[in-house]
């Protein structure tokens, strides 16, 4: 009893004050992967069953919808390619190094933190696929969060709605720079330290600003849902709804920015503020 309690307390202190256990954690993560995969099995089977038993008509409808989508997207891509080329040319003229080319890796969600107070997910790509701590995680609609721990085959990501997570954003309309903090509630972000006089209103799109060089520039983060000016408070109360569907997405994108790929892959382990 005493031996094991002492051992646990020692490990607790070691894990809390230092980073030595990071590698132990990633090794043990490989050991527990079967448990994570088994736990994901029902959800996976449900999706599969849904696909198998969908009627022919539903399938057809879905296919035609997807075809329409694809047509639209293809048209957009053609236009986008021209714009990217033009943008690169203009940036070259300005002598600026930043190019808007990011590579992405598709990963699948295989686990969710069961604690309702915490917003963390487990994905099925790890350091073997080049995932690194601090990497941005997106879904099709916007920014979801960042990777906080990796092991060989899986990694753990903190979502932007977690209370301990903040992301530097800017208002797309006028480039006003702000910080969006998670609130611990699924569909809500809070913008902190917004001056009462700031030009921000409901419906403004917030995109990642790239300040702090953690998140890539220009991905949608949320839409402002409420602006409240209370004369008694030093700052305005501004809330936003995350663009990404944080609790529904099963597939996520991991972003590799060019700057990041050029540099060394090993980075210091950055603890989120908890």
């Amino acid at each position: 009893m005493l031996v094991f309690s002492g051992l646990s307390l020692g490990l607790l202190a070691l894990d809390y004050y230092t980073d030595y256990l990071g590698s132990v954690r990633s090794v043990l993560n490989i050991v527990v992967t079967p448990i994570v995969v088994t736990a994901d099995y029902p959800a996976r089977t449900a999706t599969l069953a849904q696909e198998t038993f969908a009627s022919r008509a539903e399938m057809r409808a879905e296919i035609s919808l997807l075809e329409q989508d694809q047509l639209l997207l293809r048209a957009k891509v053609i236009k986008m390619a021209a714009l990217v080329a033009e943008n690169d040319r203009l940036r070259d003229l300005l002598g600026s190094a930043a190019k808007l080319q990011d590579n992405v890796l598709v990963a699948e969600l295989i686990g969710v933190d069961p604690d309702p107070e915490r917003y963390e997910i487990i994905i099925d790509k790890g350091s073997q696929s080049g995932v690194f701590v601090g990497q941005a995680v997106l879904d099709a609609q916007g920014l979801m969060g960042q990777v906080i721990a990796t092991s060989l085959y899986t990694s753990r990501a903190l979502l932007i709605s977690d209370e301990s997570h903040s992301v530097p954003v800017q208002v797309n309309r006028n480039n006003l720079r702000l910080i969006a903090q998670g609130t611990g509630i699924t569909g809500q972000l809070e913008l902190i330290h917004v001056p009462d006089t700031a030009d921000i209103k409901e419906g403004d799109l917030l995109v990642s600003s790239g300040l702090g060089s953690r998140f890539p520039v220009g991905y949608p983060v949320g839409v402002v849902s409420k602006v409240e000016h209370d004369p008694g408070e030093p700052f305005a109360v501004v809330r936003a709804i995350p663009s990404a569907s944080l609790v529904k997405s099963r597939h996520v994108l991991l972003v590799f920015t060019e700057a990041r790929m050029a540099r060394d892959v090993s980075s210091p382990r950055i603890e989120p503020d908890r």
Partner: protein, 163 residues
């Protein structure tokens, strides 16, 4: 004492670990997560009562470390909580065997509550938690689930003659 069918104990722990991280379907509100019983503690309590000479502090410690890895908590947090669980359960096992199932449920409520408390202490020291009464809900749910866990595991233990 000769051991028999110990794999079944391992299997029950595996199932408990899977159940404690299994994700709820997307349409279930996030707050329902508080209604999740502490499966690992329940199974651990059962085996401590049934086979106190096999399952003890060491097993609890290993399970706790696995749980810490699965949940991403500080390494050692669930380990120490489960050590407390097994310590209390093993010092009460002779009495627990005599109890009716509903009386056992009351004890389970107290033990799992203790486990939640230890977890909360460690989380609050490391600055990750605010107290709310929801923390006690898992122990209530665990106590309600206990009779079924007990009956299933007991019949399985007799069926496979686990010793």
């Amino acid at each position: 004492m000769r051991s028999n069918n110990l794999w079944f104990i391992g299997l029950s722990f595996f199932i408990a670990l899977v159940l404690s991280i299994i994700s709820l379907p997307a349409f279930v509100p996030v707050d329902f997560g508080y209604l999740r019983p502490h499966w690992v503690a329940l199974v651990l309590i059962y085996w401590t009562i049934a086979l106190p000479y096999r399952i003890g502090i060491a097993v609890a410690w290993v399970l706790g470390i696995i749980l810490d890895i699965l949940l991403g908590s500080l390494i050692g947090q669930h380990a120490i909580a489960l050590i407390v669980v097994v310590y209390v359960a093993s010092s009460l096992y002779q009495r627990m065997r005599m109890f009716a199932v509903w009386q056992q449920s009351l004890v389970v409520f107290a033990i799992v509550g203790l486990d939640q408390l230890v977890n909360f202490w460690i989380e609050s020291i490391s600055g990750a938690a605010d107290w709310n009464m929801w923390y006690l809900l898992p122990s209530l749910v665990s106590a309600l689930v206990w009779p079924w866990v007990f009956l299933v595991l007991r019949s399985a233990r007799r069926l496979f003659d686990v010793t």
